[in-house]
């Protein structure tokens, strides 16, 4: 260690080593992520169809989609879906984390079990939900009828709003554990002394939560919401499996519409424009995350 060769010493300088260590990540992200993304953006500026490179058409595709009521509906629902789902995941995830942060019999098994939705392959768990949301065979409807809470089966997916909220619930179901585990980690990093001090000051549980827990959880909240929003906004498999964007385009989102136009319809340029358009929202989110991480 003490006698290093000049070459090794140079390699070990922060500048050189820094670049060296960042290289693998850079190769993967630039080659397999940034480059395709740029190609995608380029496609959105052309009239390419499947199998035909197409020509540069400027912002024509964007003009077309923004004039398209189906796209506008999809954009609105994408944002609605993301906002509702994030809100639900945040509230329920925090509640679950507060619950699991206590010591009780079986807390360890509970923690592991509660994570299941996040672990199950989405395509397959969506199929299980298809049964639970089935207008005829839903076990949920069956149970509620038995409990005399409703008179006939619930039509989960057969109306626009029914389908929209069903998808939001399924999305919350899948993402809740991710929030719960994140918050659990956040809670465990809060020093117990703070609560004891608050108790001495005569603060009740709710005040302690508002003054200590929530402010200290804010950083992780930002990060959880930002990352999860990106996943939710680019969600495809769940919606495609359960509704295919139906009924009557009520649950169409950016990704399903882009897929429909570009992959099955062959309009690559227009599909790319639809897929690229939410990037604006996501850049805002991403800048938000970067800021909050830096500020620490």
């Amino acid at each position: 260690m003490t006698s290093r060769s000049p070459l090794l010493a140079r390699l070990d300088s922060p500048r050189v080593l820094g670049y060296l260590l960042i290289t693998p990540a850079a190769i993967i992200l630039l080659g397999l992520l940034a480059y395709p993304l740029l190609l995608g953006i380029w496609l959105s500026l052309t009239n390419a169809t499947i199998g035909k490179p197409g020509e540069f058409v400027g912002l024509q595709n964007y003009a077309t989609i923004f004039a398209d009521p189906i796209f506008r509906g999809a954009a609105l629902f994408s944002i609605f879906y993301t906002v509702c789902a994030e809100f639900g995941k945040l509230i329920l995830g925090l509640a679950l984390a507060l619950l699991l942060n206590q010591q009780f019999r079986g807390y360890r098994a509970s923690r592991a079990l509660m994570l299941l939705p996040w672990v199950a392959p989405t395509v397959l768990s969506a199929l299980a939900w298809l049964w639970l949301l089935d207008p005829q065979f839903s076990a949920i409807s069956w149970l509620l009828i038995r409990l005399h809470l409703i008179h006939s089966n619930i039509d989960f997916l057969g109306s626009g709003w029914g389908a929209r909220f069903s998808l939001i619930v399924v999305n919350i179901w899948r993402g809740l554990p991710y929030f719960a585990i994140g918050y659990l980690a956040g809670l465990q990093s809060i020093s117990k002394d703070l609560y004891e001090a608050a108790a001495i000051d005569g603060a009740d549980g709710w005040q302690a939560f508002r003054r200590i827990t929530w402010p200290l959880l804010l950083p992780i909240t930002t990060i959880l919401v930002a990352f999860s929003s990106i996943f939710t906004l680019t969600d495809f498999q769940l919606i495609w499996t359960i509704t295919h964007g139906g009924p009557t385009d009520a649950t169409q989102v950016f990704t399903t519409l882009a897929y429909q136009r570009a992959i099955s319809g062959g309009q690559l340029g227009e599909g790319a424009a639809i897929a690229v358009s939410p990037i604006v929202f996501m850049v805002v989110l991403a800048v938000f995350v970067v800021r909050s991480v830096r500020e620490k």
Binding site: P121, L132, G182
Partner: protein
């Protein structure tokens, strides 16, 4: 008593919500097709059958798909965590010129929606001759794992006291030695939480595995199940649900044993 109520009642609510689909999978796995469609009580199995499970394991290539998924998930997890660890270390500790820019780019990289950009990505995969090569999924998956892992590890490494390194540096340790011998052991909880996250996402991936693999021998669990068990408008529900349950097993085992590390690792990275 009251405390117990306060815990177990809400816990039951969450349990029902989060586990109901799994209960349904379990019930469907052991029901005959006839009973699935016609039953006085959907929450009960009147005439149980093991045939869906045995069919899945013997009539389909499920064990092969399972092994493929396991390989891809483990390999992409190891790759991503390693790459992210050294990148995070470089960004946090070495502060080379441009490190801020690099960290920004890594976060911005997250905004790529995969549902359509697989087309441009495919052009690259073809040029590299990576098409239909199972291992090619490893670097492909890394594209969506590395950003999150790097973020997580940056947060974690930040909170490791600098004194440890400085002491080592006074003893003449190189940066590389510090990276491996000093920081690595302390960072293990953070690494484990990054690994668990990566493993889960790789385990669930569908679209890339569908479009970039083509031989039957290279299918993953999700792709294999949907391609063999969805026959037009007739779904092999029992086998699909059996596979979903078996597919969850490895991840749940991992969680059961590592969940505490995961929480600890995350909490290390979010500590003020």
């Amino acid at each position: 008593m009251l405390r117990n109520l306060k815990i177990y009642v809400p816990l039951a609510f969450f349990g029902v919500f989060l586990l109901l689909p799994f209960l349904w999978m379990l019930l469907t796995t052991f029901k005959s097709n006839q009973e699935l469609l016609n039953t006085p009580n959907p929450f009960w199995i009147f005439h149980g059958t093991f045939s869906h499970v045995t069919d899945l394991l013997t009539q389909t290539a499920f064990p092969q798909w399972f092994a493929n998924t396991l390989f891809v998930s483990v390999a992409s997890t190891v790759l991503s965590v390693f790459v992210s660890y050294i990148a995070a270390y470089a960004i946090i500790r070495l502060r080379f010129p441009g490190s801020e820019v690099v960290s920004t780019i890594i976060f911005l990289a997250y905004i790529v929606p995969p549902a359509i950009l697989f087309i441009p990505l495919a052009t690259i995969i073809i040029q590299l001759h990576w098409f239909d090569k199972l291992w090619a999924l490893v670097p492909i998956y890394a594209t969506f794992l590395v950003p999150f892992c790097t973020w997580l590890l940056i947060g974690f490494l930040k909170n490791i006291p600098r004194e440890l390194e400085e002491a080592a540096r006074v003893d003449g340790a190189s940066n590389v030695a510090i990276l491996w011998r000093i920081i690595f052991p302390i960072a293990i909880p953070g690494l484990i939480s990054a690994a668990i996250f990566s493993f889960t996402l790789s385990w669930n991936e569908y679209l890339y595995a569908l479009v970039f693999m083509s031989s039957s021998g290279n299918k993953t669990v999700s792709v294999g199940m949907t391609s063999e068990l969805i026959r037009g408008d007739v779904f092999q529900w029992g086998q699909l649900m059996a596979g979903a349950l078996i597919g969850v097993l490895p991840a749940i085992l991992v969680y059961f044993f590592f969940v505490e590390y995961y929480v600890a690792g995350l909490s290390g990275s979010v500590k003020e």
